[in-house]
């Protein structure tokens, strides 16, 4: 059976060139980069090189990159590390209601430690009101945390404009850019962020490696204390192979950025057109202001999980909500925040393409989907025929 993987926002296949790049660091170059002998030296250079590759993709300097274990760890350190550092100045944090759980749950945790958090709402297309954001700032505000690209809908927030507001009020600005990396042009020097979080497995590197950008001069508490790795900002033996892989994936992304984005956008639009041509299907999220690879739609009268499972039976991998929250029963907090009607709140499916997605893949979905939708609608008590 054909397998079509359209769940790249959950995780991506590791690129073949990335596998080639990391393999030597398992059996041959296995040293600890903190060691001074040959085994340490031969990997240290590779880590330095990877740090440069990650920095280059976002226009940072290598010293501003802290390698860590995943995107969630980065979000946690950005939020908790900033709160602990700045809580003597104030306890107010501004974020949005549609952040990833790595931000939302960490904010809720900080509330138990005395933080006061404003969760900004979004409109029906998933967009923020920047005047509302600016009005939420008080003299207690120490941190603004806004994601670049939403993992469920792909909606993009205007990070540059938010950066300008943060700068104007001299408030630290953290951006979760896990879904943006490789799909949106990122220039940290230009967009006014102080902290930014990335995760390797969303751009063709393996799971288990992430990076936190910390603008030069920004002080941040450690989340993981111990050895002096990463300028004392993250203890633990460096995941050399993972770091090399992440660097390589960034280098590939930089080289192929325009091509990949253009190709994904064409295919996503083809998929979107075909899916929206089915009756009673609605697009979730802003029509244009969206990641080039993401399509989130609601199929009225159908529950998302059933649709996913039927698609899975013909080899199509997609998702309802984020992988983290599927398995729990609640409806998507992102769609709920957008005010998606109760009737289709549970009917959403996310298709997320990758650079490896082909037109064949898309056409296969467009061929398989209609009978599945029909079958489920025939079963549905919501639809009186």
């Amino acid at each position: 059976m054909k397998n079509v993987y359209l769940d790249n926002n959950a995780t991506t296949p590791v690129l073949p060139v990335v596998v080639d790049a990391l393999l030597p660091f398992y059996q041959h170059a296995y040293g600890n980069p903190s060691s001074i002998h040959w085994a340490g030296r031969e990997v240290k250079g590779a880590v330095d090189n990877a740090r440069q590759q990650v920095a280059d993709l976002i226009n940072a300097t290598p010293q501003e990159i802290v390698f860590n274990g995943c995107g969630s760890e980065g979000d946690n350190q950005a939020l908790i590390g900033s709160y602990e550092m700045l809580k003597s100045n104030g306890n107010h944090i501004i974020t949005t209601a549609v952040e990833h759980p790595a931000v939302l749950d960490t904010c809720r945790y900080l509330e138990t430690k005395g933080a006061c958090v404003t969760y900004l709402g979004v409109d029906s297309e998933g967009m923020l009101d920047l005047a509302e954001l600016e009005a939420a700032i008080t003299d207690q505000t120490i941190l603004i945390s806004v994601m670049w690209a939403n993992n469920e809908t792909g909606c993009l927030f205007p990070i540059g404009e938010i950066g300008r507001i943060a700068r104007k009020h001299q408030i630290r600005f953290h951006c979760d850019a896990v879904q943006a990396l490789g799909k949106v042009a990122i220039d940290v020097a230009e967009c006014g962020v102080d902290l930014m979080v990335f995760s390797g497995h969303k751009i063709g590197a393996p799971k288990g490696v992430g990076a936190l950008y910390v603008r030069d001069g920004i002080e941040l508490e450690s989340l993981i204390h111990g050895g002096h790795q990463e300028q004392g900002r993250r203890a633990g033996t460096l995941n050399v192979a993972g770091i090399v892989a992440f660097g390589k994936a960034c280098a590939v992304a930089q080289q192929q950025f325009d091509d990949d984005v253009a190709r994904m956008m064409v295919l996503r639009n083809r998929l979107q057109q075909g899916v929206l041509a089915l009756p009673d299907v609605t697009l979730n999220g802003h029509k244009d202001n969206r990641l080039p690879n993401t399509l989130n739609v609601s199929f009225s009268f159908i529950e998302g999980e059933g649709l996913l499972l039927y698609m899975d039976m013909v080899g199509i991998a997609a998702s309802s909500g984020s992988a983290c929250t599927s398995g729990s029963d609640g409806p998507s907090h992102v769609l709920a925040a957008m005010g998606v009607a109760e009737a289709v709140l549970h009917s959403s499916v996310r298709f997320s393409l990758g650079p490896q997605t082909t037109q064949d893949d898309v056409d296969y979905v467009l061929e398989q989907l209609p009978p599945i939708v029909d079958k489920l609608r025939e079963m549905s008590p919501m639809l009186e025929r």
Partner: protein, 127 residues
């Protein structure tokens, strides 16, 4: 995450559809997850001679409704009232913990339908 039995009932749900002149029809839903079952029973001399349903829900909701329908087909009303969510889940070879509540949807629908049938219409509660 689902057993083969669950996937079998999910992919080939038994008894889906509706009955033209049912003796009773009831709709129940899980307000928490938005899932819903509309169940139709044909009852003859205290025996369920036909059962059909429509279901909106997750894989577990569909599979449990299908399984529950087979468990009451041809049974007496008393036997049907003994179909519990645990028994439905068990018949499917088990459900993931987070999906145990889904089996309740099917069992509740059947009990509600039988109860409605046995209760004079003006006192019927479930709808």
């Amino acid at each position: 995450m689902y057993t083969d039995k669950v996937m079998d009932h999910f992919s080939n749900p038994r008894n889906v559809g509706q009955i033209e002149n049912p003796n009773v029809v009831v709709k129940v839903g899980d307000p928490g997850c938005g899932d819903a079952v509309l169940i139709f029973l044909k009852i003859d001399d205290n025996v369920i001679t036909d059962v059909k349903y429509k279901v909106y829900g997750c894989g577990a909701a569909i599979a449990t409704t299908s399984m529950a329908s087979t468990m009451v087909e041809g049974k007496t009303l008393e036997e049907a009232l003994e179909v519990t969510d645990e028994k439905v889940a068990e018949a499917l070879g088990g459900l993931p913990d987070s999906k145990m509540h889904c089996s309740n949807l099917a069992a509740t629908a059947i009990r509600a339908a039988v109860t409605r049938y046995l209760t004079p219409p003006e006192e019927g509660a479930a709808s």
